[in-house]
């Protein structure tokens, strides 16, 4: 059996008195897409920020390719995390830079290309997400929400990362644009052969972009299974969440 690309064990993180992650266990196999679902404030973003090194966990193990990034030296942890591309929920495009510099930012930082060649490379990557070359010279503020998401996706895939994270990729988009973005994500991930973790509240999106799904509840993974079975799961927490029912264990937890 192959080693998981990402393996998480007993991951804990609290902010003051509030336990956000309370012993997360999760395996993501190479070349597969994992969708993480869960209510607001259940720690989905904290989970991927912990893997990215943006949040320091209180305890636990995060392995990438079998190597614990939390125990690795600073330099080695940086190397391991350098293979991760991230699509932020709101795009997080640098508004002081034109689109082409946004797209090639990581490549320029890693010195994989020269500045003179960066614009041509950006145009090439923008084409992969269905954007015309004239977009390259625009500022992020001149783009629509859907275009900003595409540019952010282009930035995430430009350095051809082995691992990709998508934080609510379809939030704020209309259903058609959401489906287009999902299709682009699936295409890009398959083409690169990447392993992905996606966070979403959109069940249609979850089934389109994920091979497997994990449900976070009360700081732990309460269910994992094929993404295609999300809507038919008999687990009461998953059933309530995916169907948006007001009655069930999650509501009871809120009342407590």
């Amino acid at each position: 059996m192959s080693i998981p690309k990402i393996r998480i064990r007993g991951l804990k993180k609290s902010f003051g008195e509030k336990k956000v992650l309370d012993g997360i266990d999760l395996d993501v196999m190479p070349g597969t897409g994992m969708v993480v679902i869960g209510g607001s404030g259940t720690g989905k973003s904290v989970l991927i920020k912990s893997i990215l090194g943006l949040v320091t966990p209180d305890a636990g193990v995060i392995e990438i390719d079998g190597e614990d990034v939390l125990k690795a030296s600073r330099g080695r942890a940086r190397e391991l995390r350098a293979q991760i591309g991230m699509l932020f929920q709101n795009g997080a495009l640098f508004d002081s830079l034109p689109v082409w510099e946004n797209v090639t930012f990581g490549l320029l930082a890693k010195k994989k290309i020269k500045r003179a060649a960066a614009r041509a490379k950006a145009v090439e990557v923008l084409a992969q997400v269905g954007l015309a070359d004239d977009v390259a010279g625009l500022s992020p503020s001149e783009l629509s929400g859907g275009m900003q998401k595409r540019v952010a996706l282009a930035r995430a895939i430009a350095s051809e990362p082995a691992i990709m994270f998508f934080d609510e990729p379809t939030t704020g988009l209309d259903p058609i644009m959401g489906a287009v973005i999902d299709e682009l994500i699936v295409d890009c991930v398959k083409k690169l052969g990447s392993t992905s973790i996606s966070i979403t509240h959109d069940m249609a999106s979850a089934q389109r972009i994920g091979d497997r799904a994990a449900m976070l509840y009360e700081g732990r993974v309460c269910w994992t299974g094929p993404a295609g079975e999300l809507m038919t799961s008999t687990d009461p927490v998953v059933d309530q969440f995916t169907h948006g029912r007001s009655h069930g264990p999650i509501k009871m937890a809120l009342r407590r």
Binding site: K49, R81, M86, A92, L93, F105, A109
Partner: protein, 261 residues
């Protein structure tokens, strides 16, 4: 008794908060300085920040210096004419402007303009995940965002203060020759006779220190801002207020070090 306990608790919270703030600021400053000397370097960003801090602050600093020199000449005349000591006006103006008013007033104006802009920019980047995005793109935010601005502050402020010095003296010259009856030659001779190079240099040293403070407080407050628009607004206000207070406090310390023998 309860009132006393509440009072002690409030005092303790204030002390702890202050110690925490100073500690965080110290660590932030040390990290920012260390990134200045470690590669990769971003000369393009330093240049852009010098333009933002220095060039775009030029009009406001120039006008402030000009009017300050003019007012200084008028007020000095009012006082010195009572003792028939009008001839001291030129030296009062040039020494006040180069040693104190040039750097301090330029510092306060730049803090309100460029320091606030820095805090707002970094604060917005923080609340829109742009700073986190930098980290995910193999770029150290402290090195990319903070170090260039610290360097730019130290470069831009002395250049601005040089201009402020010239315009402040020019303000005094204009009022003295056009309104107070001085001849241009007398005023200029008096100005340059009393001016020593260390007066200008000490002002420029102060300017460099103030430039560092403005950039540091702008970056520090913006970098750690939280929440949405309200958080960015609070960071911007805090950047200007803390930088202004620090400028005045450091001015006293540097004056003590540079001038009191």
């Amino acid at each position: 008794m309860k009132f006393l306990l509440n009072w002690v608790a409030a005092l303790g919270a204030l002390v702890l908060g202050t110690v925490e703030f100073v500690g965080e600021l110290g660590i932030f400053a040390a990290s920012g300085i260390s990134h200045i000397f470690r590669p990769p370097y971003y000369p393009r960003l330093i240049g852009r920040s010098v333009m933002e801090i220095g060039f775009y602050s030029l009009p406001v600093v120039a006008l402030t210096a000009l009017f300050t020199g003019m007012v200084l000449a008028l007020q000095s005349y009012t006082g010195f004419s009572r003792f028939n000591a009008e001839s001291a006006i030129a030296s009062i103006v040039v020494l006040s402007v180069t040693r104190e008013l040039g750097p301090v007033l330029a510092g306060l104006m730049v803090s309100g303009r460029a320091g606030a802009a820095m805090a707002a920019e970094l604060g917005t980047m923080r609340v829109t995940d742009q700073i986190d995005a930098l980290s995910t793109l193999s770029t150290e935010p402290m090195k990319y965002l903070v170090a260039p601005r610290l360097v730019a502050g130290v470069i831009a402020m002395p250049l601005l203060v040089l201009v402020a010095d010239v315009l402040g003296v020019m303000g005094g010259f204009l009022v003295s020759t056009e309104k107070l009856g001085f001849t241009p030659a007398t005023y200029l001779v008096s100005t340059f006779t009393n001016l020593k190079s260390e007066d200008v240099v000490s002002g420029l040293i102060k300017a460099a220190a103030f430039g560092f403070i403005i950039s540091l407080m702008g970056c520090f407050n913006g970098y750690r801002s939280k929440g949405g628009a309200q958080g960015v607004g609070a960071a911007t206000t805090s950047a200007v207020v803390t930088a202004s207070i620090l400028i005045l406090a450091v001015d006293y310390i540097l004056t003590q070090v540079l001038f009191v023998k």
